[in-house]
Amino acid sequence: MASRKKVLLKVIILGDSGVGKTSLMNQYVNKRFSNQYKATIGADFLTRELVVDDRVVTMQLWDTAGQERFQSLGVAFYRGADCCVLVYDVNSSKSFEALDGWRDEFLVQASPHDPENFPFVVLGNKIDMEESKRMVSQKRAMTWCQAKGNIPYFETSAKEAINVEQAFQTIAKNALAQEAETELYADYPDPIRIDSENSQNYGCNC
C-alpha cells in the first residue's frame, strides 16, 4: 500500500562543537548564515519540507544547543532518528578524528535496528576558508567514509552556501530509502480491515 501522505524524517546532526552544525542547518532552513548562538532546552528544532522522488518529505532537524562539548546528549535526543549527519571542520584534524566517536555514540544510543545499513551522511564543512588552513584532505575523508560502509560525503560551506542543498537532499533521500523498506515489511494489518491477523488473542473466555 503506497501511502501518499507526507513522510516525516527525524534527522540529527552530530559533530564537535564549533564545526558549523547550527550554521549548516540555518543555511539550509533559513537560507542565511548566522553567527547567532541559539541556546535552547538542549535541542533546537528546524523544519523544512522538500520533495524527494515525488514524495513530500518533512525534515525535522535536531540540533544540539552546544552542550555536546561537556555532556552527553541523552538517549532521547537520538531515539528514533531516521538519518544521522556527521559534521567536521576540514580545517581541524581533531574534529575529523572525533567522527568515529560520534558515530559509535550514535549507534550505541540510538541502537537502530539495522546498524549496518543505517543512513549516515558526512559533511566536511568550512571549505570556504584559505586552502593553507586546511588540515583534512578530501582523500582522507573519503577513505574514512568508504571504510564505514560507503557513507556519502559532501564538502560544504555554511557561510557561502556551498553544497548545502545537495547534501540535505541526499540526507532526505537516503533516510527515505530506509523508510520505504520498513513499509514493505510492515505486517501490521490495516486497522479497518476485516481479516485482521491479530484478532485471535482477544482473551475472551465467554
Binding site: S3, K10, G42, R79, A110, H113, E179
Partner: protein, 570 residues
C-alpha cells in the same frame, strides 16, 4: 471577577462547613502582570531536583513580561537555583501573547520577586512554557528580537478561538508528531512542537522524574506519558489538571482502539523511528470527534453513561428481543442505540463492560456517517476489555437514528450475526417497538424547569450504583457553547476535583458550596449519588440545599425512565 466564596464540609451537616478553597480558585483572580510558571512533576518532595544543574547549564535565562516578548537575559545559566534570584528558568521559548492587553505591553519588569506559592508543588519559574504552542516558527529556542515581535506573525490567527480552544497533541517518544487537534490555530508546526515536548519530557525522565503539568498564568499544559506515545494538552479554561489527564487518557484509548497496545509496542520495538501517524490515517476523524465531545463532557470525567430517557417497559421489551441464542459463544455485547444514546445493553454474565470501552464504541458510531448507511463489520480494540487484541463489531442501522451493535470476539461471526439481526429486527417491528423507541427520542431531553425549582439553573446527577448520569438540557445562557457554559462546566470540574480530592487535597468532601458573581454551585456526595448543581447566585444556601433535595426526589421518582436498570445478561 470577585473572589468566589466557598464552603465545604466533610460530612453532610452544612453547619460543620469549613472554608476549603480549591487551590485553583485562589488563583483565578490573580492579575499579576508577570505570569508565574510552575512545573509539576511526580517527584513533588524535592522541587529543587526538578531541574538539575546539568539541565540548567543548557538553559538560558529568560525574562518574560506580559507583553509576551521574551528576551534572553545576560549571562549564561547557572547551576542550582538560589532562592533570592529565581534562576531556574527554562529556555523554552515563549509565549507570546496574542492575548496580552495592549496597555500592558512593553511594561517590562524584572524577574518576579512576588512569586505566588505554587500549591505545595515544585515551583520552577519557567520562561514561558505555555509557549509550547506559540514558539517562534522553526525554532525551538528563544526568539531574539531579530525574529520580529509577536505582532508581526499573529495577524492571521483568530485569537478568541485560540484563547478558548483546548489543543491536544500526540507524539512518539522519538519526538515525531502523531496527531494535533487544531493545526489551524498554531503558527508552529506539530513537527517543532513535538520535538520540544519530547525534549522537555526527556529532561525530567533523565532525573527519573515525570513531567505532569506546566502552569503559566491562565494556561496549563498537562502531560500524559504512555511510552511509546506521549500526550499533552494546552488549556486556559482553568480546569483541574486531572480533567485534562482524563481527556488525554481517552485520546490514548482511542488510538489503542485502532492500533492495539501489542501492535504499538511491537512496531516501536522493531523501529523506534516508527511513524504512527501513517498507520492512523483515515481514523483521525474518531480522534477529532472524541476531543470535541470531551469539551463539555461529564461522562468521561465521571466514567458514566447517559442512556436514552424513555419508558422502562419499552426498554424491557427491546432488551427481550435482543437476547441472543445460546449458540453465539463468542458474543460479547449487544447494544441498541438511539440517536447516540443507549437504549439497552446486554452482556454475558462473565463480562461487565467498562464505560470507557462503551464511550469508544459510541464515539466511533457518532463519528462516521458511512456507518449509518451500510452494514459494517469492523475490528476494534476495546482497551479496558483487552488492550492486546481486536474484537469485532457488527454495526447496522435500522433507521437514521436507531442502530444495532453486536460485538463478538469471533472474527468469523459476520454471517451469523447478520442473519440474527434480521430476526431481531423482525421481532422488534412486530410489536412496533422500533417505532415507539423512535418516538421517544424527542422526549429524551428535558428542561430544568421540569423540576419546578426556582433558582436552579442546571445540574448533573450521578447514580453511583448504576454508574449513570442525568442532566437537563443547557438552557439560556448556557445553550451555546460559549463562555457561560464553559464557566459552569469548569466549575463542575473543580467541584468534582474537590469532592474526590483529586489534586492532593487532604480528604474528599461530602458537600461543597461556591458562589461567584454569576452563579452559585453546590456539590453533594452521598452513598447513592453525586450531585453537581448550578444555581442563581441570589439563592440562599438553605434554598440551594432544598433544591438539592428536590432533585434527589425527582430522580428517585423518574429513575426507571432515566436510567438503564436490570438489563438482561446472557
Amino acid at each position: 471577577m470577585s473572589a468566589p466564596e466557598a464552603d465545604a464540609a466533610r460530612d453532610n451537616a452544612p453547619s460543620a462547613a469549613q472554608l476549603a478553597l480549591p487551590p485553583t480558585l485562589s488563583r483565578a483572580t490573580s492579575t499579576s502582570a508577570l505570569s508565574v510558571v510552575s512545573v509539576e512533576s511526580s517527584l513533588q518532595s524535592s522541587p529543587r531536583r526538578l531541574l538539575s544543574s546539568r539541565t540548567l547549564a543548557a538553559l538560558p535565562q529568560l525574562v518574560a513580561h506580559d507583553g509576551g516578548l521574551v528576551k534572553a537575559a545576560e549571562g549564561s545559566a547557572t547551576g542550582t537555583p538560589s532562592s533570592s534570584r529565581p534562576s531556574s528558568l527554562f529556555g523554552l521559548a515563549v509565549g507570546g501573547s496574542p492575548r496580552s492587553t495592549p496597555s500592558r505591553k512593553g511594561k517590562e519588569r524584572a524577574l518576579p520577586t512576588d512569586l505566588e506559592g505554587g500549591e505545595g508543588a515544585a515551583n520552577v519559574e519557567v520562561g514561558a512554557a505555555e509557549a509550547l504552542r506559540r514558539m517562534k516558527r522553526g525554532k525551538g529556542g528563544i526568539s531574539g528580537p531579530k525574529d520580529g515581535g509577536p505582532e508581526a506573525d499573529i495577524v492571521a490567527y483568530d485569537h478568541d478561538r485560540i484563547r478558548n480552544t483546548r489543543q491536544y497533541f500526540v507524539l512518539t517518544d522519538a519526538g515525531k508528531p502523531v496527531f494535533q487537534s487544531h493545526p489551524e490555530l498554531n503558527e508552529n508546526s506539530a513537527t517543532d512542537l513535538s520535538g520540544v515536548a519530547q525534549t522537555l519530557i526527556s529532561i525530567f525522565a533523565g532525573e527519573n522524574d515525570k513531567i505532569r503539568c506546566i502552569n503559566r498564568g491562565r494556561h496549563r499544559i498537562a502531560f500524559v506519558l504512555r511510552s511509546p506515545l506521549y500526550f499533552f494538552c494546552v488549556s486556559d479554561w482553568g480546569e483541574p489538571e486531572h480533567i485534562l489527564r482524563i481527556h488525554l487518557d481517552y485520546v490514548h484509548l482511542q488510538i489503542l482502539s485502532v492500533v492495539t497496545s501489542t501492535q504499538l509496542s511491537k512496531a516501536f520495538q522493531r523501529r523506534s523511528n516508527f511513524d504512527l501517524s501513517r498507520l492512523l490515517e483515515g481514523t483521525e476523524n474518531f480522534l477529532h470527534h472524541l476531543i470535541e465531545g470531551a469539551q463539555y463532557d461529564f461522562n468521561f470525567i465521571t466514567s458514566t453513561l447517559q442512556p436514552l430517557r424513555m419508558n422502562p417497559v419499552l426498554r424491557e421489551a427491546a432488551a427481550a428481543s435482543l437476547i441472543p441464542p445460546a449458540k453465539f459463544r463468542d458474543l460479547l455485547y449487544v447494544l441498541l442505540i438511539a440517536d447516540g444514546h443507549i437504549v439497552t445493553l446486554l452482556r454475558p454474565k462473565k463480562h461487565s463492560i467498562h464505560p470507557s470501552d462503551l464511550h469508544l464504541l459510541l464515539n466511533m458510531l457518532a463519528s462516521s456517517q458511512s456507518l449509518r448507511s451500510t452494514e459494517t463489520w469492523i475490528p476494534i480494540c476495546l482497551p479496558k476489555f483487552n488492550p492486546a487484541g481486536f474484537v469485532h463489531a457488527y454495526i447496522s442501522y435500522v433507521s437514521a437514528s436507531l442502530g444495532l451493535v453486536f460485538v463478538s470476539a469471533d472474527r468469523e461471526a459476520f454471517e451469523e450475526l447478520r442473519a440474527w439481526r434480521a430476526s431481531v429486527v423482525q421481532t422488534l417491528e412486530k410489536e412496533k417497538t422500533l417505532l415507539k423507541i423512535e418516538q421517544s427520542i424527542p422526549q429524551h431531553s428535558y428542561d430544568v424547569s421540569t423540576l419546578a425549582c426556582p433558582g436552579l439553573l442546571h445540574f448533573i446527577y450521578k447514580s453511583r450504583q448504576l454508574v449513570q448520569i442525568t442532566m437537563p438540557e443547557w438552557a439560556e445562557p448556557y445553550h451555546t457553547d460559549g463562555q457561560d457554559r464553559r464557566r459552569v462546566i469548569t466549575m463542575y470540574h473543580r467541584l468534582h476535583d474537590a469532592v474526590h480530592a483529586r489534586s492532593g487535597q487532604s480528604a474528599p468532601l461530602k458537600l461543597m458550596y461556591m458562589r461567584t458573581e454569576h452563579e452559585a454551585y453546590l456539590a453533594w456526595v452521598t452513598r447513592p449519588f453525586e450531585l453537581y448543581m448550578t444555581l442563581s447566585p441570589t439563592l440562599s444556601k438553605s434554598a440551594a440545599v432544598a433544591a438539592a433535595n428536590t432533585i434527589a426526589k425527582w430522580v428517585a421518582a423518574e429513575e426507571g425512565r432515566i436510567f438503564l436498570k436490570d438489563a438482561p445478561v446472557f
